[in-house]
């Protein structure tokens, strides 16, 4: 397979996951509105918002890092997605999967947040700084159980390659990690609650107290870029979780079904629960999920 062919299909799959991630975002707004007894915005509202933000006539800057913040963020999103094989056994939707891609993907999940922290810091708004410090603290906390569950998976399957992990889960749903290693899946799903930043771990964007968190100063096409990344990053995380824990997908329809229900897990939890404070969420992540993760690692190490 030539590299040009790979790049071409990688961009196509990037477009697919962007549209799907933004549609999921729209569905989430609709679901939250329905839970609150409202009609809610249309499902395609995120697309309109992105068009509008990019069509703004003026934009200002606060410096070089301010420009680079959204660029890092979207680079983190695309980077995460580019190393995940999307469809198992497909020549077209396997992106740039390589033998150690689990490590690379875990690095890229962190990367965007760090870049965003630098950019939002240069914006100079105090709320950005507060939100960034909260976000990084919470992120460090939920990375611990997530890393433990991935380590448990690596010990279980003996490989660092996502494609091989997916291959080992083929042949009936009872071979999914969900059933062969339930402790690691519970740990990872709890840390996904923190990753998606819905309630009860929404203190980073906390719309009531520190308006919308890190992107307080971002506007116009910067905000459009961040909103696009929200689609890409959500899609990439969901595809990663589907691959690691729910047996992957062999066609786009199954991918949509599985990612939708994985996403809905955190959305339903978010619609039903109030918010943790930062220190509470850190304490939570570092106790129960971490203990579960350690147990699952120990189970598969010996």
């Amino acid at each position: 397979m030539s590299i040009a062919f790979k790049v071409f299909w990688a961009f196509i799959s990037l477009g697919v996951v962007t549209v799907w991630g933004l549609t999921l975002n729209g569905m989430v707004h609709k679901i939250f509105a329905r839970v609150q007894g409202r009609l809610g915005p249309p499902v395609w509202q995120p697309f309109i918002d992105i068009i509008k933000n990019n069509a703004k006539r003026t934009a200002i800057t606060h410096g070089i890092m301010f420009y680079l913040g959204p660029v890092f963020r979207i680079a983190g999103g695309i980077g995460t997605y580019m190393f995940i094989p999307v469809l198992f056994g497909s020549a077209y939707f396997s992106n740039f999967s390589l033998s150690g891609d689990v490590l690379l993907v875990m690095y890229f999940i962190f990367f965007g947040q760090l870049g965003m922290a630098l950019g939002a810091g240069e914006g100079g708004h105090p709320y950005s700084a507060i939100a960034v410090s909260r976000g990084l603290a919470q992120m460090t906390a939920f990375e611990v159980p997530f890393a433990l569950s991935v380590i448990s998976l690596v010990a279980q399957y003996g490989t660092l390659n996502i494609t091989e992990i997916v291959a080992a889960q083929q042949g009936g749903f009872l071979r999914w990690t969900l059933f062969t290693n339930p402790l690691a899946v519970i740990t990872a799903m709890i840390s996904m609650l923190g990753m998606n930043m819905y309630n009860p771990f929404s203190v980073v964007i906390a719309p009531q107290e520190i308006p919308i968190g890190p992107p307080t100063e971002y506007h116009s096409s910067f905000l459009g870029m961040l909103a696009t990344n929200r689609g890409i990053f959500a899609g990439a995380k969901l595809v990663l979780f589907m691959n690691l824990f729910f047996g992957g997908a062999t066609n786009l329809l199954i991918l949509m079904l599985k990612t939708f229900w994985i996403y809905m897990f955190s959305v339903f939890v978010g619609a039903a629960y109030p918010r943790f404070r930062t220190e509470d969420s850190i304490r939570f992540f570092l106790t129960y999920p971490t203990i579960l993760g350690i147990i699952s690692v120990l189970l598969f190490s010996f």
Binding site: H29, R38, G40, P41, P42, D49, I51, K52, T58, L223
Partner: protein, 232 residues
């Protein structure tokens, strides 16, 4: 502003900034940039001294498409300036639910596109309104709610309330009433959507064209002008 001719001529573009050109040093004679006179020396570096320019429009077909997107994604600046801001709260509840129209309150002026003036505007509030309005990124729209914003309302002889908000920032839609019901505010917003779709809501360009006139009006009531002339 006291001059009735200036007040009545809506197409006026005044070329006078607050310091007469003759008083500038030689190297600034041709320079039309702002002086930011209210600020101290070191603070002047923090703010933009470029005069706002009327934004160029793209092709008509693209502009129509963008206007459709703008009208369907109105983000309101959640800055309650008077008692009419109370009417903004019922709008986001289940009964009226502006989110089905693609509208949402946005807590920072940088990301908002609609400024809702909620009623009477005192001088102290006017300073904040001007600053917030100038921090919004264009195209930006203003909806003025309540009769106080239109002609002073019950504060018609108050010493501290401006009578016409459209002399200080350009206003697209007025909603009358003291206070208007949420239905009336919603009707005002749908009027604004029609204006945007028709390409008539060009308040940002109006502000840039008549910048000196607006600044003169603002400075005539804000006596301690201790903020930059343009809040970038």
């Amino acid at each position: 502003m006291k001059d009735d001719d200036i007040k009545n001529d809506s197409n006026l573009t005044v070329e006078v900034s607050q310091t007469p050109i003759a008083d500038y040093p030689d190297w600034r004679k041709d320079d039309k940039s702002l002086t930011n006179a209210g600020l101290s020396e070191e603070e002047q570096d923090w703010f933009c001294d470029a005069r706002p320019q009327p934004a160029k429009k793209s092709w008509q077909i693209m502009e129509n498409f963008f206007n459709w997107a703008r009208s369907n994604s109105l983000w309101i600046l959640a800055f309650g300036t008077g008692c009419g801001a109370i009417e903004l709260r019922p709008l986001v509840t289940a009964r009226y639910d502006i989110s089905r129209l693609g509208m949402q309150p946005r807590p920072t002026p940088r990301q908002a596109s609609v400024f809702m003036i909620g009623g009477y505007v005192s001088i102290k509030t006017l300073k904040r309104i001007v600053r917030s309005y100038e921090q919004m990124q264009g195209p930006k729209f203003v909806v003025a709610v309540c009769s106080c914003a239109i002609n002073g309302g019950m504060y018609w002889d108050s010493y501290n309330t401006v009578k016409r908000i459209d002399e200080y920032i350009p206003v697209d839609v007025y909603v009358t009433g003291c206070m208007p019901r949420p239905e009336a505010v919603l009707a005002g917003f749908s009027k604004l959507k029609e204006l945007i779709k028709a390409g008539k809501a060009e308040g940002q360009n109006l502000y840039a064209e008549k910048f000196d006139w607006y600044k003169e009006n603002q400075k005539s009531v804000i006596k301690d002008w201790n903020m930059p002339d343009y809040n970038w």
